[in-house]
């Protein structure tokens, strides 16, 4: 390498503002306008996404500091004095302390970082300040994952990192255009991706979130609860959030069979239904039999142990616990998304030999509530041969009452079942299930409420069944002698479409429906299907890659348990190999930028493959002569291609389409 070129290279490697590389902090405004713009963009991309979950004043102040810096940059003014910045820094620290009460933990930490990034940018003068700013930006991108680990956030973090790298590139080579900076940053990012992949797959995983705040790591929401009070809410919140997903190995069960069992509410105090304590065991309280449905359940975290499974679950992997009221429980509260391989036996008879204590509790009814319902129940029960006949009569009566299904029922008072059955006659599943259970209990038949989800929607993109919070449902279970617990869904009496076709079919008035469920929003739902399929892939393969699955994967490639040293060796080897590959790539011949030159190279390569390579010193005409002598059948075409190239390369006018003609002729050239 010549002396001159070496010096140029060194000049490129040396950061701007260090003409001799000796002084760390030269005086004067070293920050160029474009460098400042890059840094500001990177900082905005780092702070912006945090605005959603930071205290509003922190986000506003952080962005305000950026705006101030932008103004200074635009006007070319000097940074504010150090004393002012110091005062500001102390003030924001006090503010954060006041907001959170302490400095420790994730939220105050991120808030401090956001504010300090804004302040750091304000005092940015030299290259080292820019580097510190870029480092802060990158750390804030990482901090995004403390809050949310979804695909859009990953995309945001990637874009933010690209901008931060762009700021670094603009610092190192300030002469280039912005597009060049962006391209270099993108190349750097792309070169980092293989390393990220290797580390993701091979680096030893730690159970639970790294930052030691498991409760914060995953948001936990559920539409289910272990109490139920019909009539206490007048409009059911319709959340679109996904509760669980099921991938069936066979065809999915019909909608009327999709009952996902959650909390069982056995105790009624006249106004509210409560869950009763149940005993747990390692095996189900029933002998699974009949038709079997196998599926893979991915359940979203809800911080409870409820394993909301299709009725009636058995043979789960990993092992689950079963309760006496026929539910399944996980070993630990579900704090992160979890997967279970499950089988369901919908035709299994359950509770054949239910204990008398449970049955007695299932008929308990406070005497001071719902007098009209109790009266109706005793009239219906009079003269009935058995409980099955009472059930028939109660269902017939409910049918005759012509109750209406709505998501906006009127508020009910003290005797909710009475008011629903005889006055308002409008309600949703809770009203139906509760009123039915009150009637049955008053008639002396053991009955309880089961909550969970009903239905779900098949995503046409990946074929998975998606159950949302809006599919939350309540139904009833009746115990009959010789038949055990039988599922009875009183909602189906008033709105059978709710069970067969989901919420949208059950509601006549589309105005009541959430936006997503309306028919004219089909395209939006299609889009959502697509998005959810992608998000599911992300959840399953990226977020779902836990220590267990890492062990499985490593065992498959021969790096089983107890081989940590080998695993780390493979990791180091892979990283070294990647470095070597990138280094070799950096030494390769620079790619020709000129499309015409590339086209000609391609032609020459094609001819070289055919057996006659062009010598580097051969011009197009001379090469054409040689080619024509070698391939006489195509002599004319070869001459024309070479002449066309020569004209484009050396001729006075080179219209764009001629290049395309040349490319087409080269592409369609076949040598015999």
């Amino acid at each position: 390498m010549s002396q001159c070129r070496t010096q140029r290279l060194i000049a490129r490697l040396r950061p701007a503002g260090h003409p001799n590389g000796a002084r760390a902090n030269p005086p004067g405004p070293a920050l160029r306008r474009n460098q400042g713009a890059w840094l500001l963009a990177a900082a905005a991309a780092a702070i912006g996404p945090h605005a959603g979950w930071l205290p509003i004043w922190v986000a506003a102040l952080g962005l305000g500091l950026l705006a101030w810096r932008a103004l200074l940059l635009w006007r070319g003014s000097r940074p504010p004095p150090g004393a002012l910045l110091l005062t500001l820094a102390l003030a924001v620290a006090a503010g954060v302390r006041a907001e959170f009460g302490h400095f420790f933990g994730r939220e105050p930490g991120v808030a401090l970082l956001v504010l300090l990034l804004g302040l750091k940018l304000l005092e940015t003068r030299a290259a080292r300040d820019i580097r510190a700013g870029v480092l802060l930006c990158l750390f804030l991108q990482l901090a995004l994952f403390f809050e949310d680990q979804s695909l859009p956030v990953a995309a945001l973090a990637l874009a933010g990192s690209l901008l931060a790298l762009g700021a670094l590139v603009a610092l190192t080579a300030p002469e280039g255009s912005e597009r060049e900076h962006l391209r270099t940053a993108a190349t750097l990012l792309a070169q980092g991706l293989p390393f990220m992949l290797v580390l993701f797959v091979l680096f030893p995983r730690i159970q639970g979130p790294l930052w030691g705040l498991p409760a914060d790591a995953f948001s936990a929401r559920t539409g289910l609860s272990d109490t139920m009070r019909p009539g206490s809410i007048s409009a059911l919140g319709q959340s679109d959030e996904i509760a669980l997903r099921a991938a069936f190995t066979g065809p999915p069960p019909p909608p009327a069979q999709r009952y996902w069992r959650g909390p069982v509410l056995g105790r009624f105090d006249g106004r509210e239904w409560h869950a009763e304590p149940a005993t747990e065991s390692a095996v189900p309280a029933y002998a699974p039999q009949g038709e079997r449905i196998d599926y893979l359940l991915t359940i979203e975290p809800h911080r409870r142990r409820w394993l909301i499974a299709l009725e009636h679950p058995a043979a789960a992997q990993p092992a689950v616990r079963y309760t006496s009221d026929l539910r399944a429980l996980t070993a630990e509260p579900l704090r992160s998304r979890a997967r279970f391989t499950l089988s369901a036996y919908p035709r299994t008879p359950v509770g054949m030999d239910e204990s008398p204590v449970v049955l007695a509790a299932a008929t308990a009814l406070p005497t001071d509530s719902n007098p009209r319902s109790r009266q109706l129940a005793s009239r219906l029960a009079a003269g009935a041969r058995d409980d099955a006949e009472i059930l028939e009569r109660v269902l017939a009566e409910l049918r005759a009452l012509r109750l209406a299904y709505t998501l906006r029922p009127p508020l009910l008072g003290r005797h909710a079942a009475d008011e629903f059955l005889f006055d308002s006659q409008r309600g949703f599943c809770e009203h139906f299930a509760s009123a039915f259970a009150v009637l049955m209990r008053a008639a002396g038949v053991p009955t309880r409420i089961v909550t969970g989800y009903q239905g779900g929607e098949i995503n046409p993109i990946d074929g998975h069944l998606v159950v949302r919070q809006s599919d939350a449902h309540a139904w009833a279970e009746v115990w009959l002698q010789g038949q055990g617990w039988l599922r009875v869904d009183p909602t189906a009496l008033a709105a059978p479409e709710r069970i067969d076709g989901g919420l949208a079919a059950a509601l006549a008035d589309a105005g009541e429906l959430p936006l997503m469920l309306r028919a004219d929003m089909a395209w939006l739902r299609g889009l959502r299907h697509r998005w959810e399929a992608v998000a599911n892939l992300w959840n399953q393969h990226v977020l779902g890659y836990n220590p267990e699955r890492q062990r499985e994967l490593l065992a498959r490639i021969g790096l089983g348990a107890g081989r940590t040293a080998q695993t780390l060796g493979v990791l180091a080897g892979a990283v070294a190999l990647l470095f070597a590959t990138l280094y070799a790539w950096s030494l390769r011949r620079p790619r020709l930028q000129d499309p015409l030159a590339r086209t000609w190279e391609r032609f020459c390569a094609k001819m070289a493959d055919a057996g006659l390579a062009r010598s580097p010193w051969q011009g197009p005409q001379a090469y054409a002569e040689e080619l024509a002598a070698r391939f006489p059948a195509q002599a004319g075409e070869l001459h024309e291609i070479c002449a066309l190239y020569a004209r484009l390369r050396y001729g006075p006018h080179a219209p764009e389409q001629d290049l395309r003609i040349l490319q087409n002729r080269i592409a369609s050239l076949r040598l015999k």
Binding site: W617, Q618, G619, P620, Q621, A622, R649, G651, P652
Partner: protein, 305 residues
């Protein structure tokens, strides 16, 4: 049209000088590029005939100067003689005042005489006794030279050789051409009867057309790379001068014109390169003129862009 003139000229010339189409074409290209031509060969292969034929066919005033060891500069340039009637010196122009000069066996004259001609060639004017006379337009010199190893020659110095755009060799005719030569009419007689095919106006037209030919950036880069290769070569004593580079480019233009193209290709440069470089480059070791093999190696070391 310029191509048409050139073709008619070449056709007529090749009827007089048999079997030397390429050399004729090179000579014509040299004239179109406004350069002077050096023909180096043993006596009797038709150097003089070639020069004479070109002058005749283009309708140019022709002068032949036979260089000998006792030739003086004044014999070429002319002398000032005292005129008794006007009582003043009057300049009598020498043979150099013609449109096409054949300087025959230029290396037989002393360096002083040689340089008198060569300075005239360069400046296109003659200055004697403080008086300057412009040479006619167009003005070409075709010099012939015997190979240097022949007895009684004064090799031209490098600085003088640089003034010749191209150097060509005629060589012996191939058997067929030689047979036609031996059987046919005397060439001189043929030449006497040959009328001019074009005139100075047509020659000027060709020169202007050649100057207007397109030279792409890529070609300039190639020429530059070639020049750099001659300068960086360890085999050679020195590289080609910028004047040689300019000459190479204008000769390549003329060659492209004769080929009927409106742009110059690397091939044109490659064809002209040995003729432009051979008399200008010398080997690093013994100072001999660069042999053709060296020039070919140089060409093959430079990639066409």
């Amino acid at each position: 049209m310029p191509l048409h003139h050139a073709n008619r000229l070449l056709e007529a010339a090749s009827r007089i000088i048999l079997g030397k189409e390429r050399e004729l074409r090179l000579a014509l290209a040299c004239l179109i590029a406004r350069g002077h031509l050096l023909i180096e060969d043993v006596p009797g292969v038709g150097k003089t005939t070639l020069a004479h034929a070109l002058a005749r066919l283009m309708g140019l005033q022709f002068q032949r100067i036979q260089f000998t060891s006792d030739l003086l500069p004044a014999d070429i340039l002319g002398v000032s003689i005292f005129d008794r009637d006007t009582t003043a010196f009057r300049f009598h122009p020498g043979p150099v005042f013609a449109q096409l000069i054949l300087a025959d066996e230029i290396n037989r004259a002393t360096p002083k005489t040689q340089s008198a001609l060569l300075e005239a060639m360069e400046e296109r004017q003659v200055t004697t006794d403080g008086q300057t006379c412009a040479l006619p337009e167009p003005f070409f010199v075709i010099a012939t030279q015997n190979p240097a190893h022949q007895v009684g020659t004064f090799p031209l110095p490098e600085s003088q050789l640089d003034r010749f755009l191209l150097r060509i060799r005629l060589g012996y005719p191939d058997p067929e051409a030689e047979r036609a030569l031996l059987m046919g009419e005397d060439r001189r007689g043929l030449l006497e009867r040959q009328p001019a095919v074009i005139g100075p106006a047509e020659l000027l037209e060709m020169q202007q057309a050649a100057q207007g030919l397109h030279v792409a950036d890529a070609l300039v880069a190639y020429v530059q790379a070639l020049l750099a290769a001659t300068r960086n070569s360890t085999e050679l004593a020195g590289g080609l001068s910028p004047r040689a580079g300019l000459g190479l480019l204008s000769a390549a233009r003329a060659w492209a014109l004769l080929d009927g193209r409106d742009h110059v290709l690397p091939e044109d440069v490659q064809i002209l390169f040995p003729h432009v470089a051979a008399h200008r480059l010398h080997l690093a070791g013994d100072g001999r003129p660069a042999p053709p093999a060296t020039l070919v190696r140089l060409l093959q070391a430079v990639a066409v862009g």
